[in-house]
């Protein structure tokens, strides 16, 4: 511990008004969080009570209101991760590195969730948990790509090295998504499988409204999660930087034996 910071810490405890927030929350994110919670409650009400069962899918249509928004927003996160990676290579700022990594991590969670919910939905619909459906397959491959990105981020403690490595993997995420989706779609369409699934059933009216609303609410939730994840990573880097200042002091105080 160096004296430089030891002085500041008690002040932050005594005078919370001067001390800034005690966590990753802020006024903005609290409003956002509240909106998201209200939105989720509204979607849940619409999904379970207000909307009827689908004529094709029966009650399982109610899972669509979770599944489709989550996977859509996961793709949005990949787009943001790629943009953040390109911006990092261009601007070379920690800010963009953390934008990319936070979005990618939230996306990875959502992709994983998509797989689980997709399988839960598949069982009553197809009778099995997994079929080699184009969308399910490409989601799996994308999930693995995102895990690879996360693994790259853990390969270095140096923010600059970490940023460069992951930015190059990150900027290839979007091209990979396009190539994977294209190839898997062609693959399945070649085999002329019977239409097991119409993920775009002709939903309309209140069902359509519920779906659109759910996508919007999930996007809000994504922003909330990504902003908090960003701030967490930011704090982690500050902590690392302080440890580094101490380490340099320690090293300089080594003397000739």
């Amino acid at each position: 511990m160096t004296s430089k910071f030891a002085v500041d810490l008690p002040i932050s405890a005594d005078q919370p008004s001067l001390a800034g927030p005690s966590g990753t929350g802020s006024g903005g994110t609290r409003v956002l969080g509240a909106l998201t919670l209200v939105g989720i409650a509204l979607v849940a009400f619409l999904a379970f009570v207000a909307t009827p069962a689908d004529s094709d899918m029966g009650d399982t249509v109610r899972l669509i209101y979770v599944h489709v928004p989550i996977v859509s927003v996961a793709y949005l996160g990949i787009v943001i991760a790629t943009i953040g990676s390109i911006a990092f290579l261009w601007k070379r700022s920690e800010w963009w590195d953390l934008v990319a990594s936070s979005s990618a991590e939230v996306s990875a969670v959502l992709m994983g969730l998509t797989l689980v919910v997709g399988m839960i939905w598949g069982k009553p619909t197809w009778g099995v948990y997994w079929v080699w459906d184009a969308r399910l397959t490409s989601t799996l491959v994308l999930f693995l790509l995102l895990l690879g990105y996360q693994a790259v981020r853990r390969t270095s403690v140096d923010p600059w090295v970490r940023g460069k490595r992951s930015a190059i993997v990150g900027l290839l995420l979007l091209p990979n998504v396009l190539i994977v989706n294209r190839s898997v779609e062609w693959w399945r369409s070649l085999h002329q499988e019977p239409t097991l699934l119409r993920l775009d059933p002709t939903i309309e009216g209140l069902q359509l409204f519920t779906l659109v609303l759910a996508i919007g609410v999930t996007a809000l939730m994504f922003v909330w999660l990504a902003v908090h994840r960003f701030r967490l990573a930011w704090l982690q880097d500050r902590v690392d930087r302080r440890l580094l200042v101490d380490a340099i002091e320690d090293r300089r105080s080594e003397v000739t034996v």
Partner: protein, 222 residues
């Protein structure tokens, strides 16, 4: 850039010729894979012949992974990476040279694998133009992506596990596309294969461009 690429590719191929790792270990492994596939899929039911294109490309991708690992094991031993960084070699040329050396080894391997499936699986390839073009574009993509992620993983302690985790999902579409193109060629429906070849070419292009620009930054940190 191309002069440097030729220098590096020549050096890598010379190392492979002298060390004989590719010839003594990777090629036998490819043959071994063909034998193991035959054990796993009963040869009498015709399953093996139908699965031949897929097995061919699985063997190619796995051996490609080994070739990339080998290509960067050579560069990380004994501080050689520092030597490369202290050189005046163009990093784009370095990337092209290493990728070209990997690609050439893979082409030789594929020729052997093709002979292998004809002899061992009684496969009857046809549509040679399609086969050759598919091998060319798929190999370019595998070598380019492998070289890019290879240099990334080279600087990392956990490289043996990181490289497959990064590379194999990325190569999944290549495996898929090359297999479909081969199936089309084998069954004499070459015209159905061309969209897949286009996909392979797009993939190769993306990774060659990414490698030309990204290789230097990654070499810096490895």
């Amino acid at each position: 850039m191309f002069r440097d690429a030729a220098l590096v590719a020549g050096k890598d191929l010379r190392i492979e010729l002298r060390s004989r790792v590719a010839i003594n270990q990777v090629l036998p492994l490819a043959v071994l894979l063909l034998v193991l596939f035959a054990f796993a899929l009963d040869p009498d039911t015709g399953l093996l012949v139908r699965a031949t294109p897929g097995l061919f490309w699985i063997a190619t991708v796995l051996c490609g992974l080994l070739a990339v690992q080998r290509a960067f094991a050579v560069e990380t031993a004994d501080g050689v990476t520092d030597g490369l960084r202290l050189s005046a070699l163009d990093t784009g040329g370095l990337f092209l040279g290493k990728a070209a050396a990997v690609a050439l080894q893979l082409i030789v391997l594929q020729a052997l694998l093709l002979a292998g499936v004809v002899v061992l699986y009684d496969a009857a390839p046809s549509g040679w133009l399609m086969l050759v073009v598919t091998c060319g574009t798929a190999t370019a993509g595998i070598a380019a992506a492998g070289t890019l992620f290879g240099v990334l993983a080279a600087g990392v302690r956990v490289r043996e596990t990181l490289l497959p985790l990064l590379l194999l999902p990325v190569l999944a579409p290549v495996l898929l596309a090359a297999t479909r193109a081969f199936e089309a060629a084998f069954e004499g429906r070459s015209s159905e294969g061309w969209p897949w070849v286009g996909l392979l070419a797009a993939f190769a292009l993306v990774y060659i461009v990414a490698g030309l620009f990204g290789f230097g930054a990654l070499l810096e940190e490895s």
